[in-house]
Symmetry: C2
Subunit: 118 residues, 2 copies
């Protein structure tokens, strides 16, 4: 379910966070689905349980999952998360487009890009 890239410059816990965010936003992990336990996932990925805990802590802080002592971590409702993520993506795209305008990349170029991928 989770794949790590040790050659990636980003920290392991960050990769785990991002991977779970994606799985949750795309609906692969439905609401109230139980995530792998801290110790299980650590075993599976051959990394330290503390690293998983750090990732889960971050996911909880950002509202993607909720945690129940003694039972496990579970997926939160993802409707609001989706809308937030959509807005975030739009702002990121807009920022890139604006950066491009400074060096001669037109909005027509972008529309063309969206149409045929070049």
């Amino acid at each position: 379910m989770i794949v790590l890239d040790l050659k990636d410059a980003r920290p392991l816990y960050e990769q785990i966070v991002e991977r779970f965010k994606h799985l949750i936003l795309c609906g692969v992990l439905p609401e109230d689905e139980k995530l792998p336990s801290v110790r299980n996932l650590a075993m599976e990925l051959s990394i330290n349980p503390n690293t998983i805990q750090k990732a889960y802590g971050e996911l909880e802080r950002e509202g993607f999952i909720y945690s129940v002592k003694g039972r496990g971590n579970f997926v939160s409702s993802n409707h609001n998360l989706k809308e937030t993520k959509k807005e975030e993506l739009k702002q990121q795209i807009l920022a890139l487009v604006k950066e491009g305008e400074g060096i001669g990349l037109t909005r027509e170029d972008i529309v063309t890009l969206l149409q045929n991928g070049t």
Copy 2:
């Protein structure tokens, strides 16, 4: 000319590199313009000369500037750099759009975004 954000999570040398890249790509710094000397800029920014040297080394490695011993660092020709940067931006935008499609962000949404900024 260069402004540092100490609260930024990114390393100082990386901020310097990005700032100069922007100034060069946008034409603020024309071809063969002389950059501030390592020691001068370090003084001005109140940071260590080694940090400037690291930034200049990176800019040279990436072809944005060239260095002449005893004289200084100078801006390279920026035509190819611009084209490369444009392609890079287009790929980044495309990647974000594809990510958005997975959670229900349509290409029409993007076109609307480009038209009126929302």
